[in-house]
């Protein structure tokens, strides 16, 4: 007999099906270490079984590794091979075991240790879609159709082990037909916890904003109302969406007004890849994402020659976030509507997405005209994930990378395997990805809770080699979000049976996550590790790449608290997981008004121009802000309410305002995003490199890059009458060359030949590509993010990696 544990995510029904096929006898059960299988049978059958476990894993399975242990056969004859040998120990001759006794699934023991089997939510599979469209099927057009291979998971799970009573499906008693499928080992719905049908499962209802039901078919009527320009609130998998006709400028503008969302682009749902191709350029990686089981929003380049959606859907951008239906209800609605739909998070302004029915009408009532709702509760809020596809580095040999978020899958098992060289990078990791664990490439000796940053907050728990990074939670200053954060920590600790012994946090004393960490550590008597923000960014990139360093860490972002009490954000660090040294950074400038300078990039322009000693007479940015220009310059010069920062994000803001891109922002990073959009893609020139102050004691003091020189060059070029788009491009190119030159120099000095790129500024694709290509050309290994975001959403993973490395 062999017993085995399979590390990763394999459903017991799948194991059952394989074992039956190979005529094995035994049983399968979930255990804390993974799936535990006891099987006996012929050696050949056992071999075939182990191979099939890896090769035929269904969509929701992730096979990390298979460990096989041999046991003496029951009749007393010893099997050969050492006990505890890793996989492949099934070659020994085995007595022909009877198969008549069969194979069985042992029920998970609710009182026992917690199982690790919590999968992410999964898009409707092809088999279910076929049934959805089949008039003869008993689930024809049933909006909640699902099976073992698809459907809701994480968002409906209240507790582990993952069994129906522990989900929000507990209130729906299976009808005899569904129960028969559930208990039939040969059925696709064998042990599918959310199984249901029109007889016994959840129902869709369409209500007006006063909560009065509308008769007629909810889907058909919703499509009709959308065509007429209505705003529809639609309850989905991880929360409520707001939908409008994406071709109607009036409808999209109405939604913007009611949501208080001035410019930030809306995501759009299209019925399939073909429809996506009518709007955007869809490469092979994007196609795989749009047809795969995770179904994130994919950021894609709009086709030249006018967008196929209304202007106010994504004003002034070259890209559009597209997704395809991932629930049966989406499929039905998109088919009935037949056109692109804006599908944006159901919230007001920066509030978290609404997911509870009892608050939906109160909060979304002022926004939505109608509500398409259902009666399956959502237990955990999960936003749509966002992914972007990056082109291969110039001159890169074509190679394949594992898709984001998955420890190790065989790409051959996927439809449309990744295009050579193209890389996908998570921008927001949530629905479809969380709570799947990320393998870090090293063991964490003690379980860690890392509390993340403040905006785009996530937290992270570690166990063994795995990091459980939470779904995107949001801006913690918002009370509803902070509640989601604290409740989420408790939920994850329970689901994954992690009792943290160490708490990691940012050094920023005012982050609510820092305060939570310190309070919690005191209450529970836990160890505390404060991790500098940019060290966490670099460690996050290392963990993302399973690389332990040392690297030259390029941490460029909005800002984070430095070890000297100033605000950092344009940093070149020498870092590994345990420590870092600040080798170089942008020379600090004042942020007049602190957070006000972030909301108003023109203030950064004033501060930079003053620091650069540039004559501002006649500059448009000064004219536009004449009323407060002198006061803001005085604040910057005299350090009144003006903290110093070496942030690269603020340098982008300053240049954006000088180039008349915008003076104030209404979402995070807006000015920098629009500056990147403005930059002429054909422009190849750049300015002379800015000065770099090399302190006399390079081992002690970091080098300082004079961002003011860049600003002065931009103004000079602008005054020479150069087109703004070309100036923007030259600014990007010069900054990239500067970073590359500094790195080359530091690589020479330190002998470190690898660079890790992290921080929100590397959301700028142009900068990322130019810096990455330049470093590679200089012979450095370049690490970038794929499985967690380059922005602060990745901070918790980095904190966890640093805390784990400190013994």
């Amino acid at each position: 007999m062999s017993t085995g544990s399979c590390r990763g995510w394999v459903s017991a029904p799948f194991v059952y099906a394989l074992a039956s096929r190979e005529h094995l006898v035994g049983e399968v059960a979930n255990s804390p270490a993974g799936v535990h299988i006891e099987a006996s049978g012929s050696a050949a059958a056992l071999d075939a079984f182990v191979i099939a476990l890896r090769d035929e894993a269904p969509p929701l399975a992730v096979v990390e590794d298979v460990v096989v242990r041999r046991r003496p056969p029951p009749d007393g004859r010893r099997a050969s091979g050492p006990g505890g040998a890793d996989g492949g120990g099934t070659r020994a001759p085995r007595p022909g075991a009877p198969t008549a006794a069969g194979f069985r699934i042992t029920a998970s023991d609710p009182a026992g240790e917690r199982s690790t089997l919590v999968s992410a939510d999964c898009a409707t599979c092809a088999d279910c879609l076929a049934e959805l469209a089949d008039p003869a099927d008993r689930r024809y057009r049933y909006p909640f159709i699902n099976c073992t291979n698809c459907g809701p998971r994480f968002t409906i799970i209240r507790d582990v082990p993952y069994d129906r009573p522990a989900t929000t499906m507990a209130g729906f008693a299976m009808c005899p037909a569904c129960a028969a499928e559930y208990h039939d080992p040969g059925n696709r719905r064998f042990h599918a916890q959310p199984v249901c049908c029109p007889e016994c499962g959840p129902r869709l209802r369409l209500l007006d904003r006063a909560g009065r039901p509308l008769d007629a078919d909810p889907i058909e009527r919703s499509a009709e109302l959308l065509r007429a320009g209505a705003v529809l609130a639609m309850k989905g998998l991880g929360g409520y969406h707001l939908a409008v006709d994406a071709r109607s400028d009036a409808a999209a503008a109405r939604l913007r007004g009611r949501k208080h969302r001035a410019d930030k682009p809306f995501a759009v749902m299209v019925s399939d890849v073909a429809a996506a191709r009518e709007l955007c350029a869809v490469g092979p990686v994007a196609e795989r994402l749009l047809t795969g089981r995770r179904r994130p929003i994919v950021l894609l380049d709009l086709l030249p020659g006018g967008p196929g959606v209304a202007r106010s859907v994504a004003p002034g951008t070259r890209q559009l976030g597209l997704m395809t239906p991932y629930t049966p209800a989406h499929h039905l609605l998109l088919a009935a509507f037949s056109g692109p739909l804006v599908l944006t998070s159901g919230n007001v302004s920066d509030e978290p997405i609404v997911y509870r029915d009892d608050e939906a009408f109160g909060r979304l009532g002022p926004i939505a005209d109608y509500f398409l709702v259902h009666d399956r509760p959502i237990h955990v809020r999960a936003d749509d994930s966002v992914v972007r596809v990056l082109p291969s580095w110039p001159g890169e040999p074509r190679r394949e990378r594992p898709p984001a978020g998955e420890p190790s899958r065989r790409p051959t098992n996927k439809p449309g395997s990744p295009a050579a060289g193209e890389r996908e990078q998570l921008v927001r990791r949530a629905r479809g990805y969380a709570p799947e664990p990320l393998a870090m490439g090293w063991e964490t000796p003690r379980p860690v809770l890392a509390c993340g940053a403040e905006l785009k907050s996530t937290f992270c728990l570690t166990r063994g080699r795995y990091a459980f990074v939470s779904q995107h939670i949001g801006d913690l200053e918002n009370y509803e979000t902070f509640r989601a954060f604290t409740a989420g920590v408790a939920h994850y600790e329970r689901l994954f049976d992690v009792r943290p012994e160490v708490i990691a946090h940012d050094l920023h004393p005012e982050y609510l996550s820092t305060k939570y960490a310190l309070d919690r550590a005191e209450d529970d008597g836990l160890g505390v590790v404060g991790v500098q923000h940019h060290h966490a960014h670099i460690a996050s990139c290392l963990a993302d790449n399973r690389h332990s360093g040392p690297v030259l860490g390029l941490a460029f972002d909005g800002l984070g608290y430095g070890t000297d009490g100033t605000l950092w954000g344009g940093e070149v660090l020498l870092a590994d997981l345990t420590r870092f040294t600040r080798l170089a950074h942008l020379d600090p400038v004042a942020m007049p008004g602190g957070a006000a300078a972030i909301r108003s990039p023109w203030r950064m322009a004033a501060a930079y121009l003053s620091a650069a000693g540039v004559d501002t007479a006649g500059l448009a940015v000064r004219e536009r802000n004449a009323a407060h220009w002198e006061s803001v310059v005085a604040m910057a010069d005299r350090g009144v309410a003006a903290p110093l920062t070496s942030s690269a994000g603020r340098l982008f803001d300053a240049v954006a305002a000088i180039l008349d891109v915008r003076d104030t922002v209404n979402y995070e990073g807006q000015a920098a995003i629009e500056l990147e959009q403005l930059a002429d893609q054909a422009e190849r020139e750049s300015y002379p490199l800015p000065g770099i102050v090399r302190p006399p004691r390079p081992a002690v003091d970091p080098g300082r890059i004079q961002g003011t020189d860049l600003v002065a060059a931009v103004v000079e070029d602008l005054r020479a009458g150069t087109d703004r788009a070309r100036v923007a491009a030259r600014f990007h190119a010069t900054l990239a060359r500067t970073i590359v030159t500094v790195c080359e120099c530091l690589a020479e000095q330190t002998g470190v030949r690898a660079a890790a790129l992290s921080g929100g500024v590397f959301a700028n694709q142009r900068l990322l590509n130019e810096v990455g290509a330049g470093l590679r050309a200089a012979g450095l290994t370049v690490l970038t993010h794929s499985r967690v975001p380059t922005n602060d959403g990745g901070i918790s993973l980095g904190q966890a990696a640093v805390a784990s490395a400190q013994r």
Partner: protein, 375 residues
């Protein structure tokens, strides 16, 4: 510097250094004033040192600030301020004319507040060892009853009737509706006594003092029609306590605090932590003058965290809310009084702000100086 900003760092410093060394029950209450017993007299004692740049500013100077600040600390404890002492630390070379102006302002403020300056001390330090003029004042107040009655059905824990329930009275002061058998009012005024359902008021527009000071430094090229709100609140407090003392006003006033360093936000956080309650305020209801709002916006400062020197935050039982508001409004120093929020049971220890957009933001106690948190 964060240690002086009035936030969590200040609290930590006080805890670590002073409380450790001087530990005793009167100090541990960590109220603005200490309640002490002296031969049967219920006294309240407080001390404060004043450091401000510039020394003279629109609406006042360090002199009246030093009198009003200490008077207010006594008043919000429910005491009638009677006597002050003052100590000066002067930098060598500080102009005598300026000193005269400061002293004259102190005398005038003391007259207004009805307190007597009884003793003082002056030290001169060499040039460069101080910044012009520092002032310390110590105030002695007498507790007077009045205000509301204790809820008989639900006596609060820890409240013990005083042996001599009447106590000494301020000369010539007989509050209406006083019942000598009541426990001391003093025992019932304090941050820890706030209960869910209570109403939170401020006595006027906030932030005038702090913004005036910042602008008066002359570092910004900005003109604003603003003056410090520095004023003695003893009269206003007396009016408030008297108006809410009847049995129909439930527990009457539960707690008062002058919103100085750290502003209203810090007072509310102290309240939430001391009483283990939540506080919810409405952004639209918080009174802020246009000129203050404009300057605060320019400086990137949230007026909720800006110091006032003549404004108090009062927490009153719901039954007393109308009477309290009317009493404040009837006094010139309470002209802009308004209800800004209420006490709730959940979430304990947090202050929440309902924003104009319908969101809910956490208004946290600052650890030190405000620093941007946006990445």
């Amino acid at each position: 510097m964060a240690h002086g900003a009035g936030g969590k760092a200040t609290a930590a410093l006080v805890d670590a250094v002073f409380l450790e060394a001087f530990r005793n029950p009167a100090l541990e209450a960590l109220d603005d004033g200490a309640h002490v017993d002296a031969g049967g007299a219920r006294l309240v004692l407080t001390t404060d040192s004043y450091v401000v740049t510039p020394l003279f500013f629109p609406g006042g100077c360090i002199g009246d600030l030093a009198v009003n600040g200490t008077v207010n600390d006594l008043a919000v404890c429910g005491a009638k301020p009677l006597y002050l002492t003052c100590g000066f630390v002067l930098e060598e070379g500080f102009a005598v004319a300026d000193l005269r102006r400061v002293v004259a302002a102190m005398a005038e403020a003391a007259r207004t507040a009805g307190v007597t300056l009884v003793t003082g001390d002056t030290k001169v330090v060499p040039r460069g060892r101080a910044d012009g003029c520092y002032v310390n004042t110590t105030g002695l107040g007498l507790f007077h009853p009045g205000g509301s009655t204790l809820d008989d059905e639900s006596p609060m824990e820890g409240v013990v009737a005083a042996d001599d329930p009447v106590g000494p009275w301020p000369v010539g002061y007989t509050p209406p509706g006083h019942r000598p058998t009541e426990p001391d009012r003093l025992d019932r005024l304090g941050m820890a006594h706030a209960r869910p359902g209570d109403v939170v008021l401020v006595s006027g527009p906030i932030g005038d003092h702090g913004i005036t000071i910042m602008l008066a430094r002359g570092e910004l090229d900005l003109e604003a029609d603003l003056r410090s709100d520095t004023a003695p609140l003893s009269g206003l407090v007396e009016r408030l306590l008297t108006a809410t003392s009847g049995p129909e006003h439930g527990g009457g006033v539960r707690a008062m605090r002058d919103a100085t360093r750290g502003g209203v936000a810090t007072v509310l956080n102290e309240l939430a932590m001391a009483a283990g309650v939540g506080v919810v305020i409405d952004e639209d209801a918080v009174p802020v003058r246009e000129a203050v709002r404009g300057a605060a916006e320019l400086l990137g400062i949230d007026p909720l965290y800006v110091a006032c020197e003549g404004r108090l935050v009062a927490v009153v039982a719901p039954e007393a809310a109308d009477a309290a508001l009317a009493a404040l409004l009837a006094d010139p120093l309470g002209a802009g009084a308004t209800v800004i929020g209420r006490v709730v049971d959940d979430p304990p220890g947090l202050v929440l702000l309902n924003t104009a957009f319908g969101g809910t933001r956490i208004v946290d106690m600052l650890v030190g100086d405000p620093l941007p948190r946006i990445c």
